[in-house]
């Protein structure tokens, strides 16, 4: 009931409810019409990106704690699920829960250390902890396979009471799981945004000392925010591990992963539900376009550089590897020219026009 009241308070118009329902039903029906594996794959990457961004949003966006070590939770979730599946034959839909429990433990340990620090020091501590976890995964070869990583040989079919729901042979089950997780994280964001807990979080973000003087226990609420954020990130990690089928320390625990998670939110806009969605809409197609050399071909089509020229071959061969270059340029542009993200930039533009 409370949710509905909040909905009303926040001015939910019937129009937006209807459009949300329309988008949802479109997404649900999507695999019925589109069977191309590649497009489904893109949608799954898109969902994964949203889950990662929305999860970080709870800690970074609403509570104002800029963790640049979220790869720790992503990786711990991925590793727990993968290790249980590959070494102990425990199906991922159970391993996923184990991953979440693990992540809560890790998060509370990290939180108790890092939340004593503020501002830049918190950022540095979060990176240090994530690096410790990555190096541990590299070195504990007996448990994690070290730098070799873990390759999933087979995913057990999902059964409920003996009935096989899906055997994960196509991308469709992954699509629906991704969609479900996305909805869960978005709902979590919505609930946080419109609950007393969320107001506490936002009070901490706006002014820690003022919040503290109003009787908000900073450590407790920061840790709650971290735990929620970490659990959802671990969900993304487990999903990634099973979907991609291979994990190793640099890809799931590296600093790059942490930065990428932050980027999704920064580019879209921090502290809004739509922010990570917009961020994913920008980043996922862009990195895919770079990976498949679409950008290089685009440059050739403009006629600026000929495909046969030396520069052309160079671009074709190397641009795909340098997708992080575009990330870097994007971040610089966004921070300098749209400090509130794409969403904030659009809002500003439309407001100007209205006046």
């Amino acid at each position: 009931m409370k949710i509905f009241r909040n909905m009303h308070n926040s001015g939910f118009s019937p129009l937006s409810v209807i459009s949300a329902a329309a988008i949802l039903s479109l997404l649900l029906a999507f695999p019925l019409f589109v069977k191309t594996p590649y497009i489904l794959h893109m949608m799954i990457l898109f969902f994964l990106s949203i889950i990662m961004g929305e999860s970080w949003n709870i800690l970074g966006g609403y509570t104002g704690q800029y963790s640049v070590g979220h790869a720790a939770y992503f990786g711990v979730g991925a590793y727990t699920t993968m290790m249980l599946m590959q070494f102990k034959q425990i199906p991922p839909w159970f391993g996923m829960w184990a991953g979440m429990v693990m992540v809560v433990v890790v998060a509370l340990m990290i939180g108790s250390i890092c939340f004593r620090l503020r501002g830049p020091y918190f950022v540095l501590a979060s990176i240090a902890v994530a690096e410790i976890i990555r190096l541990s995964a590299m070195n504990l070869k007996d448990i994690t396979n070290g730098a070799e990583g873990i390759l999933a040989t087979e995913i057990m079919p999902l059964k409920i009471g003996g009935l096989v729901v899906t055997d994960f042979l196509t991308k469709v089950p992954f699509y629906y799981i991704g969609l479900a997780f996305t909805l869960i994280t978005i709902l979590a964001n919505y609930l946080v945004q419109h609950s007393k807990l969320g107001y506490y979080f936002q009070a901490i973000r706006e002014d820690q000392d003022a919040a503290h003087s109003l009787g908000i226990n900073l450590t407790v609420y920061k840790n709650i925010a971290l735990a929620i954020s970490a659990v959802l990130t671990s969900l993304a990690g487990s999903f990634y591990a099973i979907y991609v089928g291979f994990i190793d320390p640099p890809t799931v625990l590296g600093l790059d992963t942490s930065v990428q998670i932050v980027l999704i939110c920064i580019i879209g806009g921090i502290g809004t539900i739509m922010g990570p969605v917009i961020g994913s809409l920008v980043l996922v197609p862009l990195s895919e376009a770079l990976r498949t050399n679409m950008i290089a071909h685009g440059i050739f089509m403009t006629g600026l550089v000929s495909e046969q020229s030396a520069a052309g071959t160079f671009l074709k061969e190397n641009l795909g590897h340098a997708h992080a270059l575009i990330y870097g340029i994007l971040v610089v542009v966004v921070i300098l020219f749209m400090p509130d993200g794409v969403l904030g930039f659009i809002k500003k533009l439309t407001q100007k026009k209205m006046r």
């Binding site: 800029y66 640049v68 250390i113 004593r116 620090l117 503020r118 501002g119 830049p120 020091y121 950022v123 540095l124 501590a125 990176i127 240090a128 902890v129 690096e131 410790i132 190096l135 541990s136 590299m138 070195n139 600093l255 930065v259 932050v262 920064i266 190397n318 641009l319 590897h321 340098a322 992080a324 270059l325 990330y327 870097g328 340029i329 994007l330 971040v331 610089v332 921070i335 300098l336 400090p339």
Partner: protein, 511 residues
Amino acid sequence: MTIFLQSLISGILIGGVYALIGIGLSIIFGVMRVINFAHGDILMIGMYLTYELFTLLQIDPFVSILISIPIMFLYGGLLQKIFINRIQGALPQNQILLTIGLGLVMSNTMMLVYTSDYKILTTSYSSDSFKVLQSVINPDKFESLYNKGNQLYAKAIAAPRDKAAELLDAADKKYTEALTIKGDQFRGMNNLGVSLATLAGLRSGQETDRLFNQADEQFSKAASLSDDDFEVLYNWGCSLAAHAATRTGPEADSLFAKAADKFKTAADSRPDSFELFSAWAATLDRQARLKQGNEADSLYTEAYEKYLTAKENMPTREAAKAGQPAKTIPEMQSQLAAAYGNYVHAFRIKSDGHDAGLSVSTPLAISFAITMIITIILYWFLMKTDTGQAIRATAQDRDAAQLMGINVRKMAIIAFGIGSALAGTAGALVSPTYYIFPQIGSMFTLKAFVITVLGGMGSIFGATLGGIIIGIAESMGAVYISSGWKDVVVFILFLLVLLFKPAGLMGKSKM
């Protein structure tokens, strides 16, 4: 103890370079209150700059800093003016993200240009090292004399004839002195024997004979202490054979026979030795030449057998080149003669002494010296010059400094320039010892943070201390835990400092 001191010294040396990285980050933070996440990437650019100067213009990395310092200063100043300046006073997280973004642009641009291959800058002294504290670190008199003897012997082998004799004489004295301290060390006797026998080969007449007999005496003593030691028996055999070659008639024959006997015993412990069997074959071959008829033939056959075994044991592929197996004695003779034109075999000196002194890598030592010079110059610049004082004033209180008429914008540009020049210098200094690749920056960025936080943000002395502490922690971690965990040690140290002394070891400022 030696291992501890050894890792301490390498830690301090690499710590000097870390200090430079830390100081750069610290100055930037002090003046601008911006944590530069692109610091390691700037260092990486410095590495590539050094690499290019070295490969294109053959400028030594340590000399090239004279060129790279001004270039990196300009680069840093431009970065500040174009990008960082715009976010002065923005949210700290936006500042962090901007520098992360700039770092990504730098490392990925370098990847576009140079691909992600590892580059190695090899100078003539890249793997050189020298020894220090030889008399202090090894208080055991025997070991120290023994090692000195070994060093003299090693020098003698490489030296010209007349110089060699002098050095061998000195080596003999060291070994003899060592043996008066500890008379039960057969490795000392072995090496003394080797040294005497080698010297004997350089002298002539009575002197040679006397020296060979002395060597014989040492080997026999050594063998009585350790009767199955391969080196002792092998050397003894070689010495006897060499002695025999200087004698004639039955005396030579009996010495050759004795030598063959030693080789036979030695072969029990090392049937796979090439040197032993070739020396044995040569000895038998020479002995056979003194004989006639059947006796000679059987010795030739035996020598040929040893020769074949030696060929099987041969470490290189030379063995494959050998021709048809010999069937007749003349065939054997000619093959043996072809194989052993020169039958004097190298002695095997025992060098298992505990290494005296501490080994210091030459490039690291040079870079440490340069680091110290730069730190002192920087300190003087900040303390004594007007610009330096203005920078410090800006770091202390930006607004007050501005009110005092200091151009804080200019100071910020200079500070970022200095920080980048220091990072670039550090890059140049580590390039002879590290692999160069575009992603190396993030590792140095993380280390720079640890160093700066450890020493206290904004303190030069603190950053120097922090750098050296991190260098030591790393090298100790690598030795006493494992090289895989050494970075974990650094990060744990970092967290501990953040928690218990968040202002750093030298910092006074409130966080």
